[in-house]
Amino acid sequence: MNTRCVVAILGLAAMAVAAAGAAAQTPERPETIAGCPAENLAFHTCALQKATTFTPPRTPSGRPNLQGYWRSQLTQAFSVEGVPADDPLIKDPIMPWEAAAPEVIDPADRKIPYQPWAAAIGRRGVNFYKYIDPRTTCSTAGIPRLALQDASQIVQPPTDDFVLWHHDDHHMYRVIAMGNRPPVGAGVKTWNGLSRGRWDGNTLVVETTNFNGYTWIDDSGNFYTDTARIVERLTMVDADTIDYEVTFEDPTVYTRPWRVAWALVRVTEPGFELIEEACREGERALGRIREQGYKYYFGETWRAR
């Protein structure tokens, strides 16, 4: 039993609709993306090679122009470590998972390099079985889970001082302050972190700190804490594809930094716009989930250590 199951039980009446929706939302994985293999590590390696010879479109001020609507590819939200074909949850009668490739590209075993105590909490451990997925409470999905699913919009005002990354998921946004701004003091902790950006050649590099550690990385309860530092690199591979790489550092939890990567593919539907997703305002299932004994997360598993 887990939060996802409870959600599914509560939604029995709506299940047919949900299944249809899920099928529609799971993008068909193309054989190639931007001419690169549709497997995360192979894509990432190939994409960065291609990017060395691609000249990205520019903003009026001469920066690579990443603006527009984007949708994630090569992603699934079950586990960034992937779901093996023999995983028992694939046969779950209520809400079956799907076999899936990992988004982790480093280390080579494609597993999060947890310290032993932390592996027992993340990786479908204590978090998954005892706590409510924070995203289910209509809080933010956090970084980088916001970019794992759904569409988003990147806005680069011509003044070059900020980049705005606006996510469809629960009307969340991130303000990326460009230039050499000093970091905000460690006493300020936030759900989405506070981000500072810079250009490394044609790559937008975003460094984020000031996390409260209340979010999960995926449905499996994989996590970081309030000491995490996350570095994202967005590199255009062709006019409609961004290579998205994320490095996680958190000495409290991991034995070494580790990375995920996937693709952001431009949404080309004419007239596409992000739509307000007010989650909390219409939320009905949380009380029932709590009745089943699941606890609020708020980093309790790692804070109690």
Partner: protein
């Protein structure tokens, strides 16, 4: 020596004229590369409209304030005035904001929290520290989508009228209030907002409120927004729903098992 004395007197005369010259002309407003007034920056009100948009005395936890409603009267239909008074009496629990929901428009514009404006030729996006609210105001000539749609922050389509950004907002829910004092509207709410820079550091926000289900005629509010100028200012987070859950979780942890 004599020469130097005259130069000093002339300089003094110029200095004394300078403030008059500045006051006589409208201070220049910043502009984007495409020549529009540049509304970007972090802005915040310095008033008590979020507690009550009309003139009001101090109440516990709410500062006194002179109203932002032009003329101070809100032209409620009789049933709606009674409803407003009931809302006021029950405001501590009946205010949708007290449940951690998005506070709606125009209220989110005058919550006592900063917001940041991002501006491109195609749209103006406003990101709010309060409740992670975000509004996209399309300035690319696109029309409102067909309704009815119940959005908490409505659908915003804007155009430039000289130096003023004029925004038409429709497609609301009836679930938001205009302030903590119980002033309210229906889903038929229609706003026309006017954003005008009044010098580089002040942004005037004038809004016309129309709702034929609740009011007898359109009425207006005028709010002044101030640029946050601290060199290190940034939007942080204040999400009332998350904070309520955190308090609840802390209470549950405190319970003896």
């Amino acid at each position: 020596m004599q020469h130097g004395f005259i130069r000093v007197r002339l300089a003094a005369a110029v200095l004394s004229l300078a403030p008059i010259a500045v006051a006589a002309q409208t201070p220049a407003v910043p502009r984007t590369p495409d020549g529009r007034p540049n509304l970007q920056g972090i802005w915040q009100v310095l008033n008590s409209a979020a507690w009550d948009v009309q003139d009001h005395s101090a109440r516990l936890g709410a500062p006194a304030g002179q109203g932002v409603v032009n003329g101070n009267e809100i032209p409620y239909q009789p049933w709606a005035l009674a409803k407003k008074q009931e809302n006021f009496a029950n405001r501590a629990t009946a205010d949708p904001d007290a449940m951690g929901y998005l506070p709606g428009v125009p209220r989110i514009m005058y919550m006592p929290f900063p917001f940041q404006i991002f501006q491109t030729p195609d749209h103006v996006t406003i990101a709010f520290e309060y409740a992670h609210g975000i509004r996209t105001i399309y300035t690319n000539g696109t029309p409102h989508p067909r309704g009815p749609i119940n959005w908490w922050l409505g659908d915003s389509r804007g155009r430039w009228d000289g130096n003023t950004l004029v925004v038409d907002v429709v497609h609301f829910t009836d679930q938001t209030w205009l302030d903590r004092a119980g002033n309210f509207h229906s889903e038929a709410l229609h706003l026309v907002e006017r954003y005008t820079l009044d010098g580089p550091d002040h942004l005037r926000y004038d809004v016309t409120i129309e709702d034929p289900k609740v009011f007898t005629r359109p009425w207006t509010m005028s709010v002044l927004l101030y640029r946050r100028k601290e060199p290190n200012v940034r939007l942080l987070e204040y999400d009332p729903a998350f904070l309520m859950d955190e308090e609840q979780a802390a209470r549950e942890r405190g319970k003896p098992n």
